[in-house]
Symmetry: C5
Subunit: 265 residues, 5 copies
C-alpha cells in the first residue's frame, strides 16, 4: 500500500515556464566567482514560520513564484545556490549560498528576499560571511603535495553539503609562521585521501562575524566526509581549533524548481 | 474515586484497520539495518505546538492517521522507532529513531512528516545523525572480554530508552592508539556487569553534527542504567569526555497505535 | 486604604467538596515513599501560558477542578507535592515533586496533567529526575556524627523549598574512596549546625539527566539556609562541584486548594 | 519644528487622586528596611508584552491604576522602588526593587502584581533575591578607613541605578580569612574616592539563586560609576570574581506616577 | 527579464517634505559630539516583528513618518546615525547609534521611539553603551606614531559599519601599566597600515554593560577591515582579550529617507 501525496509538479512547471529562465548572457560568470580570490561568500539559513503551512496551496505557489523572481533577478550579479536543510537539521529549513564581488550585492538580494511575499514567512536562523583568498600555506608545501592538491573531485552529483564554521584560539595566531606551515602540511596530508570524493572550499571570516573560517564541503559519500573530519581532528593543528561547528549545517543541494515543488506541498 | 478520561481506542482502531499494515514482504529488513555497520541512525525529537491541543478530537485523529500513513509508507525503505518523551523530558514530546542506508532516505521521511497535516503541529527540538561502524577497539581486547561482550541482554520489554550525545576533547584524538585501547579495555570492563539488563548501541557522529558519538540505551531497570553511567564516569577514559548529554534524551519506547491513542486524547 | 481583590474561596471550596478527597486507604503510603531508598523523585516545573490569564474565571475554576482530579487520581500510586514558584522565580510558576517506585508512573501522571484542559496552559520549564539511595558515606562516619545526623528537624511548617541541581567534575569520580570519605566528613560537619532548621533530601541523577544530584531543602528560616550553603561552599569537597544550581529553583510549599485559589484569581 | 505626543498627565492625575495615597502611619518604615541587616532585597525585572501597546489608552490607564493599587496596598508591609529600564537595556522594560523582612511578603506582592490586569502584560525577565547582612570585613579595617566609609553621598537626585550580580569562584571561599580581609581592604581603598558620588548597597545571595551577591549602585554621575568599576577590576580581589553582571541591569529611578505617565502613552 | 518591485520614492518624499527638515540652527553640534571626550555612545539594534510585513503600505508609510518625526525631534539634542543590518546579520534588522552628553537623553529618544506607532513593531535585540575618553596610551607612544595616528581616513562614503564589543580578562587589568603601554604600542603599529581605509572609534563600557569596550569601524573596503582585525589578533595584547564580538554587528550606513523607502516596500 502506498500513501500518496498530491504532486504539484505540472502546475508548478506551468507557472515557472511563464517566467522563463535568465538567459546565459545576462547571468554573472559562475565559474569565475566560484574559483577566484577576493569574492565574498554568504551563507544565509532560514526557517519557515508556522504560518507558511497554513497558507493554501495556490498562495504558496504564488509566493514561491515571487521567490523565483527574486532569485532570477539577482542572478545577474551574484551566484546563488540553494540547500534543503529541513529533515537533516533542527537549525533551519533552507540555506542560500551567495557569491558576490561586493557584500552589498548579497545584502541587496537578501533584502529583496526578506521583503518579498515569500520572505515574510522566513526567519533568519543564521547569516555568515567569508572572503575567498589565495591559499596561505600552499606555496610552502612540497611540490608533490601541490600536485596532489590539484586532483579534481570525481564527476557526478554531490548531494550532501556541509558548512562548518571554525575559529582558532589566540595561541594559533601568535605562533611562528614556520610552525603554522608545518602543521598545515600535516593537516593537508591527512585530508589528501578524501580529495576525490569530498570537495572543499574555504572562506576567511575574521572580523566579518564571530568566526575565523567557514569551511564548505560537498560529497555523495557522507561516510568519507565523516572519515575526513575524523582524520583532521587527529592532527596537531586541531589543538588550536577553539570552535568547530556549533552549528554544523547539513543540507542537500537542491535546484530552485525542486525546492518550489517541496515547499508547495 | 477514579477521574476518568474518555478512551478513544475503538475509534482509533477502526481508522487504523482501514489503512492496513505494511505487509512483511514490503518492509525493509529491520534486523539487518539494526545490526550492520554502515547504517545511518537519525534521532529526531519534536515538540507538539500549543495549537495541537486546541484541535478537536476528530481532527486530531485524522491528523494522526496521516502520521501513520507517512510512517508506514517510509517503512518500506527505512526502520522507524518511536519514543514518548513527554512527561519525562522538558526537551521534546516525541522522538523518532530512523535507521537508513542513505541519509537522504531519513531526510525524505522527515520532510514528508513535517510537511504533513500532523507535522504542521511539530517543531523540531533536535535532530542528530550517526553512523554505525565496526567496533574500533574490540579486536584488541582479551578473548574472554570478547566472549563476555557477546552476552545477549535479557528477553522481555525494555521500556526506557535513553540517548546520550558524547564528544571527546582534542587530547583524546591526539593520544597514542595503544593508550586509547588500554582505556577502552577498562571502560568495557566497567560496563560488562550491566550487559544483561542494559542494551547499548553506538553511532559515530563526527562531522555529521556537533558531537562525536550518539550512545543509545534500552532498559527495564533504570537503576541499573544509572549505575552503568556512574561506573563509566569512574574510569580514566571519562577524563577525555568533553560533553556527555546536554541534553540527555529520555523516553519510553512506544508503538504507533499507542502514541496515536495518547495524542488523540 | 485597602485595594481588594475578589476572593473566590467559597466557590472553589464548593466545587472541591463535590469531588471529595481520596480516602486514606486508597492513597499510596507517603511516609514510605519519602523515606525509602530505590524511589524515583521527579521535579517538574511549569509556566502558565499567556492565554491562562485571558480565560474567564468560571473556565479557570473548571480547569483547576480538572487539575485536582488528575492529582487525586494519581495519588493512589504516587506522592505528589506542589510548590508555588511565581513571585520568587523567573524560571517557572509552579512545580510538582513526584515520588514513585517506577518512573513510568511519574510519566503517566505528567502525561495526564499535560493532556488535561488545565495542562494545555502549561509549558514545561524543566523536568529533572533522581533516585533515592542508601547514604554512600554515612557508614564510614564517626559514631557521634551518625548520632547527630539523626536529629530531626524542628516541628512546624517549613514554607520555603529550594531545589539545587548539582554536578561534580571528572576529578571527583576519579578520586580514591578514602579521600572522598574524608571530604564528605568535613562536608557533613559543616552542615550539622543547620540540621534542625533546614531539612535536606538527596536524589542521585547521573544518567537520568544532565546533572549528578538533585538536592532538596525545606525551611522556615531562609537566612539559615543561606548560611548552610555558604558553609558548604567553604569546604574542600566544593572544589569538585562543577555545577551548583543553574537554575536554583525556589518556591513555597502549597496545598492543592491553595494553588487553586491563587490561580483562579 | 516640534513633533508632539499627546500628554496625558491631567487625566492620569485625576484617576490617581481618586485612589489616594497610603497615609504615612500605614506604610512600612522605609528608612529602617533600607538600612538594617536581615532584610531581603528582591530585584524583579519585567518586559511588557507586545499586546500592551495595542490596548487603547483608556484601557492602559485603567490597568496602570490597578498597578498603583497593588503597589500601594503592599507598601504597608514592604518597601517598593521602581526603575525604568526601557531605552537603556534590552533585558527588561521595568524593574521593581522590594525590601521585605520575610521573602514571602515580596512573593505576595509579585503574585498580586502578576495576577493583576496590568500584570497580565508583564513577562518576568529576571528575579533575584539577596539578604542584607552586617559588613563582613569592616570590623577588621583600619579606623581611618572605617571613618571614611561613613562619608555620606552627596544630596540631590541620583537618577541612574545599576544592579550587578556577582559570583566568586571556589578559590575565594577556600582562602584564609586574613588574606580575604587584606584583599577587601585594597578593594575598599579603591572604592573610597567614589564614596560621595556613587551610592552602593550590598545583598548576599548564596543559595537564594545562582549568584553570590547583588551589588546595587545609584549615581547622577555615570562617568564616576564607570571609573569606580574600573578601579575595582584592578585590585587583586577581582581575580576571584567569576561572574560580574551577565546581565548588568541599568535603569533610571522613577516614581509610580511618572512610570504611569510613560506607559500610558 | 527584470522582476520589478514597485518603487515608492515619490510618495514617501511627498510625505517627508510635509514634515520638513530640522533647521541647522536647532540641531546639536554633530562634529563636536563625534569628536569630544565625555560623550556617551549608545548602540541600539532592533528587529522588526512579523506583524510589520502584514501592515498595508499606507500604514507602513504613516508609521515610518512617525519614525522620522521622533528622530528629527531628538536630533535637537543628540546625534543619531542609522544602519541597515538586515541582509547582513541574523541579529537585527536596523541599528541606531546615538551620541549624547547625558545617557538619559539617549534613553528619552529610545523611549519615544519604542512608544511610537513605528516602535510597536520593534523588538530590542541589543542595547550597548560606552563613553568616549581621552586616549589612554597615546601620550606614551613615540612621536612618529602619534603623527601617523593623525592621518585622516580617505574621503568618500564608507558604507560598511561594524561594531565589535570587546572585553579584557582579569590578567589585563592587573598588569603593570608599562607592560600595557608596550603592548598597546605593538597593537597601534599593527593597525597603522589600515588608518586610511578603515575609520575606528573607541567607547569605554566597563560597568555600563557586560563588556569593557565598544569598537566601531567604518570602511568601503571590507577586505582591509578583515586584514586589520587579523593583524590585531596576531599581537600580544590580543592574548588578554576574553571576548571579541559575540556578536559582531555588521550593517550598512543609511540615511533616514533610504531606510524609510526600504521598509515601506
Amino acid at each position: 500500500m502506498r500513501f500518496c501525496m498530491p504532486r504539484l509538479m505540472p502546475f508548478v512547471l506551468l507557472l515557472l515556464v511563464w517566467l522563463g529562465p535568465v538567459s546565459a548572457s545576462e547571468a554573472v560568470d559562475r565559474g569565475k566567482l566560484l574559483s577566484e580570490a577576493g569574492v565574498y561568500g554568504t551563507f544565509a539559513a532560514f526557517t519557515l514560520d508556522a504560518e507558511w503551512a497554513k497558507e493554501d496551496q495556490a498562495t504558496r505557489i504564488a509566493y514561491l513564484t515571487v521567490l523565483r523572481g527574486v532569485v532570477e533577478q539577482h542572478r545577474e550579479k551574484i551566484v546563488i545556490d540553494l540547500y534543503l536543510m529541513r529533515g537533516l537539521s533542527d537549525y533551519a529549513d533552507l540555506m542560500f549560498r551567495v557569491h558576490a564581488v561586493e557584500l552589498r550585492e548579497a545584502q541587496n538580494f537578501l533584502l529583496d528576499l526578506q521583503g518579498s511575499l515569500f520572505g515574510r514567512h522566513l526567519k533568519a536562523a543564521g547569516i555568515m560571511h567569508g572572503l575567498t583568498k589565495k591559499a596561505n600555506y600552499v606555496p610552502g608545501l612540497p611540490d608533490q603535495m601541490k600536485a596532489d592538491l590539484k586532483t579534481v573531485s570525481e564527476p557526478g552529483p554531490r548531494p550532501y553539503a556541509i558548512v562548518i564554521p571554525i575559529s582558532k584560539n589566540t595561541d594559533w595566531w601568535g605562533l611562528d609562521p614556520d610552525k603554522r606551515l608545518a602543521m598545515m602540511k600535516e593537516h593537508t596530508e591527512a585530508a589528501l585521501p578524501y580529495q576525490k570524493t569530498v570537495k572543499r572550499k574555504l572562506y576567511h571570516s575574521t572580523g566579518l562575524g564571530d568566526i575565523d573560517f567557514i569551511t564548505y564541503f560537498e560529497t555523495s559519500k557522507l561516510e568519507n566526509f565523516h572519515s575526513l573530519i575524523l582524520a583532521l581532528e587527529k592532527v596537531k593543528e586541531f589543538q588550536y581549533v577553539s570552535r568547530l561547528g556549533h552549528p554544523v549545517l547539513m543540507g542537500t543541494a537542491i535546484s530552485l524548481p525542486e525546492i518550489m515543488e517541496i515547499l508547495a506541498q
